[in-house]
C-alpha cells in the first residue's frame, strides 16, 4: 500500500491517510481506523460513537457514512495488539488470519452492545406508535445491509491479507443471509403499509424483482469478476517483470555507458561486457530457491569456484569458462584446495591468457573433489623457474600437499598448461 500522498507538503513526514482497519475490528473497522489516524485509544472512539448514537442515532449515521466512504486498508492502530476480547491469531508480520468458522468474540460483544444501545435508544427516543412498528423491519434492513457490506469488506480484505482460501460456501451463505434480511425487512415495511393478506403477493413480487435483477446483472457481475482476476494476474506478472527490469535495467545501462566511454580500450570493453554477462546469467539461471543476493562467503565448491573465477576474470580481463559437476559444502581441506585453484586461475590468466579463454573444471564425486585449470598459452616448465620464486611451488603445490591433497602441473601436448588439483574431503556429509 503506498503510504505517501501525491501532494508535496511542508511536513517532512507524508501525511497519514485515513483507512479503516482490517485488523481487530468489531464491525467495519471505522473506530479502529479513526483511532489510528487520530492517535487516540480505540476505546475512546468507540465510546464517542456509542454516545453519538444516543443523539438521535447520529452515531449510527456517521458510522455508516465512514464505513461507506473510507477505504479499507492497513491503517488503524498499528503495532498495537488487538484487545484481548478479540480472539484471533495475529501472524508475526502483523497480518491476521481470518478464522471464518468461529466468529470473533469482539463481534459478539459488538452485537450485544448494539442491541443494548438500540434498546436504550428505543427507550429514550419518543417515536410515534406508527414509527415504532417500522422499527423492526428497519433494523432488519440495517442488519442485512451491514452483513453484506462486511462481506464485501472481507472480500476486499482478502486481497490485502491474501487470505485467499476462504470457504466460498460461507461467503455465499453470509451474502445470502444479508440479502434475505434486507428482503424480509423491506417486505415487512410493505406489509405494514398494506396488510398481512398481501404478504404472499408482496414476497412473490420481491422475489420476481430479485430474480430479474440477478438475470440482468448476473452476466455483468460474472464478467467483472473475471476481468478483475485477470487484471490481478496481469498485475502479478507486471510486478515480476518490473523486478527483473529493475535489477537488469540499471546495471546494463551503466555497463553500456562505460563501454561507450571506453570504446578505445578493447581490453576494458571486453572485461565490462563479460562482467555484465556474468551478472545477468547469475541472475537469470540461479537455481530456484536461492536468494538473488550473493552471500558474503561461498558455502559450496560450485559457489567458491565460480566466485574465484569471476574475481580473476575481472582483475585480469581474461575470460574463464567454468563447468562444475556435482557440488558439496566446503570444509577446511577443500577450502585450501579452492585457494590453490584460485592461484592456478591467476597464473593461467596472467601467463596463458593470450591463447583464449581459460577452462576451469570442477567435479565432486563421492569424497573426491577435483579441479582442473587449463590455459592455451605458451606453457611453462616448472623446472625452469628459479628456486627463489616460490609462487607456484608454495601457493599451489605446497598448499595442496600440506592439506593432504595432490597437485599436478603439466604441459598439454597442443600448447598450454594444465593444473590438476585433487583433494579428499575431510568427512562424509550427506
Amino acid at each position: 500500500m503506498p503510504e505517501a500522498a501525491a501532494m508535496p507538503l511542508a511536513e517532512p513526514r507524508p501525511p497519514r491517510k485515513l483507512y479503516r482497519s482490517s485488523d481487530g475490528r468489531w464491525l467495519g473497522g471505522v473506530a479502529r481506523g479513526l483511532a489510528g489516524h487520530l492517535g487516540l485509544p480505540v476505546v475512546w472512539v468507540r465510546l464517542v460513537f456509542a454516545g453519538l448514537f444516543m443523539a438521535d442515532g447520529l452515531g449510527a449515521l456517521l458510522y455508516a457514512a465512514f464505513w461507506f466512504f473510507v477505504p479499507l486498508g492497513v491503517g488503524g492502530v498499528g503495532g498495537q495488539k488487538p484487545p484481548a476480547l478479540v480472539g484471533t491469531e495475529t501472524a508475526p508480520d502483523g497480518r491476521r488470519r481470518l478464522v471464518a468458522r468461529k466468529p470473533d468474540k469482539g463481534q459478539i460483544v459488538a452485537l450485544l452492545l448494539m442491541v443494548v444501545v438500540a434498546m436504550v435508544f428505543v427507550g429514550n427516543v419518543n417515536l410515534g406508535s406508527g414509527a415504532k412498528a417500522y422499527l423492526l423491519p428497519a433494523v432488519l434492513v440495517g442488519a442485512g445491509v451491514a452483513l453484506v457490506w462486511r462481506q464485501a469488506d472481507n472480500a476486499r480484505r482478502a486481497r490485502w491479507v491474501e487470505v485467499g482460501r476462504r470457504r466460498r460456501t460461507l461467503t455465499l451463505l453470509r451474502a445470502g443471509a444479508g440479502v434475505l434480511l434486507v428482503t424480509a425487512g423491506v417486505s415487512g415495511i410493505f406489509v405494514l403499509q398494506g396488510s398481512a393478506a398481501h404478504l404472499g403477493s408482496v414476497l412473490q413480487a420481491a422475489l420476481a424483482v430479485l430474480v430479474g435483477i440477478t438475470l440482468l446483472a448476473g452476466p455483468y457481475l460474472v464478467r467483472m469478476t473475471q476481468d478483475l482476476s485477470e487484471e490481478r494476474l496481469m498485475r502479478i506478472r507486471a510486478q515480476e517483470r518490473a523486478e527483473v527490469a529493475a535489477h537488469v535495467h540499471d546495471s546494463v545501462l551503466h555497463t553500456l555507458t562505460l563501454i561507450q566511454r571506453n570504446a578505445e580500450n578493447a581490453g576494458e570493453v571486453r572485461r565490462l561486457a563479460r562482467a555484465q554477462e556474468r551478472d545477468l546469467r547469475t541472475w537469470l539461471y540461479r537455481p530456484e530457491g536461492t536468494g538473488k543476493e550473493e552471500a558474503d562467503e561461498p558455502a559450496t565448491v560450485a559457489e567458491a569456484v565460480r566466485r574465484n573465477a569471476a574475481e580473476v576474470e575481472d582483475k585480469h580481463g581474461v575470460p574463464l569458462e567454468v563447468v562444475v559437476v556435482g557440488d558439496c559444502p566446503l570444509d577446511e581441506r577443500v577450502g585450501a584446495q579452492m585457494q590453490a585453484a584460485r592461484e592456478a586461475m591467476v597464473n593461467a590468466a596472467k601467463y596463458g591468457g593470450d591463447g583464449g579463454a581459460v577452462q576451469v573444471y570442477a567435479e565432486v564425486e563421492g569424497r573426491t573433489v577435483f579441479v582442473s585449470v587449463r590455459d592455451r598459452g605458451p606453457g611453462f616448465d616448472l623446472d625452469s623457474i628459479p628456486a627463489d620464486r616460490m609462487g607456484v611451488r608454495e601457493s599451489i603445490i605446497g598448499r595442496m600437499e600440506r592439506h593432504g591433497g595432490t597437485a599436478r602441473l603439466r604441459a598439454v601436448p597442443d600448447g598450454g598448461t594444465e593444473v590438476e588439483l585433487e583433494m579428499e574431503r575431510a568427512e562424509k556429509t550427506s
Binding site: E321, V325, V364, R376
Partner: protein, 248 residues
C-alpha cells in the same frame, strides 16, 4: 587438412577456447547447406557474415527463419543438411521446431540434422533440445571457425558437445542409488565418462584422442553413444531435470 575426420576443430569449446589452434584455411573441398533459425536478425546477420562466405568456409546459407512456423516452412522447402537452431524462439521454441521436423530428421536418404545454438545456460534448455533430437549444442560466443567445424561435424552425423553440455550430461548421469531401468541407456561407460570429462575440461577431440590413446573416430563414436543415451534414456533424473546441483 582435407580429411574431414581430422579437422583441427574442437568440439566447440563453445565459449571460444581452442580457437587458437583451428585452421580455417580454406574449405578443403567441403560443402554444406545450412538454414539459420534465430529470432534476432542481428545475430543471423552476424552468423551469415562469419560463416556464410561459401568460397572460404564451404558453408552455404540457403535459408533463414525467425519463428517456429517460418522455420518449419523454410526447412521443408530447402531441405538443408544442417540447421542452426536457436533454443528460444517465438511460437514454442527450438524444441517445437524439432518436434515438427521429426520426419525430416529420420529421413533415410538425406536427413536434416540440427545443431542448437543458444545464449542460455539453463540445463533444461540445453538438455531439452538434445532430447528433442539436436545433434549438438554450442553457445553463441563460439568463434566462427569453431562454428564452421561444428557444422561439418554435425553434417557427418557426429555429435558436438560444448564443455557446458558435457558438464550437464555428467551431472544428469551422475551415479545415484536409483537402479537403472535400462542398463544400456541409463549408465555411461567409464570410457564415455572420461571423454565427457575431457570435453568439459576444454579439450578438443584430437587432444582427447591423444590423452586416451585412442583415435579421433573412437572419440566421436563415444560422444555419439552418449548423445544417443541422452536422447533415449528414460532415466528419472533426465526427464525431471533436477537442475539443482547435487550436493554429495
Amino acid at each position: 587438412m582435407s580429411d574431414p575426420t581430422d579437422t583441427n576443430g574442437t568440439a566447440g569449446p563453445a565459449e571460444g577456447a581452442g580457437a587458437a589452434q583451428s585452421s580455417g584455411d580454406g574449405t578443403g573441398g567441403r560443402h554444406v547447406r545450412v538454414v539459420l533459425v534465430d529470432d534476432h536478425r542481428m545475430f543471423r546477420t552476424g552468423v551469415q557474415a562469419e560463416i556464410g562466405r561459401t568460397e572460404e568456409t564451404g558453408v552455404e546459407v540457403v535459408g533463414e527463419a525467425a519463428d517456429v512456423d517460418q522455420a518449419v516452412t523454410v526447412i521443408t522447402a530447402t531441405r538443408p543438411e544442417v540447421v542452426l537452431l536457436d533454443v528460444h524462439l517465438p511460437g514454442g521454441g527450438g524444441v517445437e521446431v524439432l518436434r515438427r521436423c521429426a520426419p525430416l530428421m529420420a529421413d533415410a536418404e538425406q536427413p536434416v540434422r540440427f545443431l542448437a545454438l543458444s545464449v542460455s545456460d539453463a540445463a533444461e534448455d540445453v538438455i531439452g533440445v538434445i532430447r528433442g533430437g539436436a545433434r549438438g549444442y554450442v553457445t553463441k560466443t563460439i568463434t566462427g571457425t569453431d562454428l564452421v567445424n561444428s557444422v561439418f561435424r554435425v553434417q557427418e552425423g557426429d555429435a558436438v558437445f560444448s564443455p557446458r553440455l558435457a558438464g550437464f550430461v555428467l551431472d544428469a548421469f551422475a551415479s545415484t542409488d536409483a537402479p537403472p531401468v535400462d542398463e544400456d541407456l541409463d549408465r555411461l561407460t567409464q570410457r564415455e565418462r572420461e571423454v565427457l570429462r575431457l570435453i568439459a575440461r576444454g579439450y578438443a577431440y584430437k587432444e582427447i584422442a591423444k590423452q586416451l590413446f585412442i583415435s579421433v573416430k573412437t572419440v566421436e563414436s563415444h560422444v555419439s553413444a552418449v548423445l544417443r543415451k541422452l536422447q533415449l534414456s528414460n532415466r528419472h533424473e533426465l526427464t525431471r531435470w533436477a537442475t539443482a546441483r547435487r550436493l554429495v
